[in-house]
């Protein structure tokens, strides 16, 4: 376990010492600030609209951070050959994969925490009635677990596709496809003939349904909280997918020559 935390620590250090991360972070915050300064007729709908745009931005930013950070981990280690002195130590490849995953996931979590705290403060400055703290908590936790699935998927991709750029692009396309099309696959399957219908149905039940984790409306419209048992089930579902992707990554990496 110590080895996993040591590797995770280095991943987090690397991310927080990269300038591009800060640029992304500052640009997101600046755009949110500009959005928050707009005040038209003191209309509540406008505030909701601004919240939606800001949350969209946070979602895009978090997805970019998760995919780009994870996609480059193992390829960069191979390219810079930092993998050699590392694997010459009593560190197993499984520990390395788990450490990389944990580091990227925790780093995403920290970035997300900053975004949500900032967003919450911004929203609170515009909405004076009440501040739905638990709604924010549910949305942030679900968002973080969704990023966990994406980090695990990108890590697996980084072992299959050697170049970080191609892995980032492919992962972005897959994640975009799941988010926008995944939820409609079962409906689409009804209009198809066999065996295509069976294939599309199988795909529907195989892919991780990332849309479960999209609780933006809960925050935007101040909807009532979702029952905690459903949140718990969704987190278990995410943990299952993370485990499957990480197992795949470990199996691919286990026999790979690193010279």
């Amino acid at each position: 376990m110590k080895n996993i935390f040591a590797v995770a620590g280095v991943v987090i250090k690397e991310l927080y010492r990269r300038k591009d991360f800060y640029v992304l972070f500052i640009v997101t915050i600046l755009i949110c600030l500009v959005m928050a300064s707009i005040n038209i007729y003191d209309d509540a709908n406008i505030v909701r609209y601004l919240k939606e745009v800001s949350l969209d931005l946070i979602w895009i930013c978090s997805l970019v951070v998760a995919v780009t950070t994870t996609a480059r981990q193992i390829p960069a280690e191979r390219e810079n050959r930092t993998l050699l002195p590392l694997l010459a130590k009593p560190l197993t490849r499984t520990q390395l994969i788990l450490g990389k995953f944990l580091g990227c996931w925790l780093a995403c979590g920290m970035a997300l925490l900053c975004f949500y705290v900032f967003f919450g403060a911004l929203a609170a400055s515009r909405e004076h009635e009440h501040w739905p703290l638990l709604n924010y908590f549910q949305a942030a936790v679900m968002h973080w677990f969704m990023l966990g699935i994406i980090v695990a998927l990108s890590l697996l991709g980084s072992l299959v596709f050697a170049a970080p750029s191609s892995n980032s692009t492919i992962c972005a396309v897959i994640i975009g496809g799941i988010l926008f099309v995944g939820r409609h696959l079962d409906q689409q399957a009804l209009a198809l003939r066999e065996p295509t219908r069976a294939i599309v149905n199988a795909l529907y039940f195989t892919i991780p349904h990332l849309e479960f984790y999209d609780l933006r409306d809960l925050v935007i419209h101040n909807w009532p909280l979702i029952a905690w048992k459903y949140i718990g089930l969704a987190l278990l579902y995410a943990a299952g997918y993370m485990a499957v992707f990480l197992l795949g990554a470990c199996l691919v990496f286990r026999r790979k020559a690193v010279n």
Binding site: K13, R17, R18, L83, P85, A88, K89, P90, R255, N259
Partner: protein, 250 residues
């Protein structure tokens, strides 16, 4: 003297894309034994299979057939690497970390207690003369300084076996002398050093035994004096063993 490093009929084949999936034999039935406290030189021209042998010993590359053992443990077991230190040919370290952070990270991987690491890290930084630059990121170091960080990280766990892949490559004469001094010091402490080098004069001066490989095959193995034999020096013997004919200058 017990055996600390052993290879048995080690064979490594690579499928080369450039050669349209033809098989390239990198190592062909290599048998080696290195005993405790030896300084062992591993020699060969470029592409002979030195780095491949080290890669197998460190678990980077699985052998096609045969086996390799460190301290009697199969090299595929990570525990086999608990008591070794490895210095790669070039500096492959996290450039965004400082030397101190890098050493602390590796100390954690070796499971060194914090108190031991706190004591060992300044000692090593002093040994490689980097105590003044310990808080600077490695990316700001010169090549020689980076190589010295490499040496420090190879010694962090006080290893019983040190595997050095061309440790003096790219170093200035002062740096080379320092590396030689450290190897000598380790030898005096009873540590085993297994290193590859193209600096045959250096090998002659510090090694107890040497092995010469060429095209993946072991060509000679023995004490430096035995290998040199009737030749003027190790370099001449090396050239004769790998079948290189010196052309007279016209």
């Amino acid at each position: 003297m017990s055996t600390i490093l052993r290879t048995e009929k080690l064979r490594v084949e690579f499928r080369s894309r450039e050669m349209r999936q033809a098989t390239k034999i990198a190592l062909c039935g290599l048998d080696l034994e290195v005993g405790t406290g030896e300084v062992f030189g591993f020699l060969g021209p470029n592409g002979a299979g030195k780095t491949t042998t080290m890669n197998v010993l460190l678990g980077f590359v699985p052998p096609t057939s045969g086996a390799a053992y460190l301290f009697g443990i199969d090299v595929r077991q990570p525990i086999a690497r608990q008591r070794i230190g490895y210095l790669p040919e070039l500096t492959y370290y996290y450039k965004f970390l400082t030397a101190e952070e890098l050493l602390r990270f590796y100390a954690k991987i070796f499971g060194l207690p914090r108190a031991v690491a706190d004591q060992r890290i300044p000692e090593l930084l002093k040994l490689v003369e980097l105590e003044g630059a310990a808080k600077r990121p490695i990316k700001s170091y010169s090549k020689g300084m980076q190589q010295r960080v490499g040496l420090a990280q190879a010694l962090i766990n006080d290893p019983d076996l040190l595997i050095l892949d061309e440790p003096t490559s790219g170093l200035d004469p002062l740096g080379r002398m320092k590396v030689r001094e450290i190897i000598q010091r380790l030898k005096n402490e009873g540590k085993t050093v297994f290193f590859s080098s193209h600096e045959l004069g250096e090998v002659e001066s510090v090694c107890d035994r040497v092995a010469i490989i060429h095209q993946g095959e072991l060509k000679a193995l023995g004490r430096v004096a035995d290998i040199t034999g009737t030749h003027a020096n190790l370099e001449k013997a090396f050239l004769a063993i790998i079948g290189f004919q010196l052309q007279p200058v016209s």
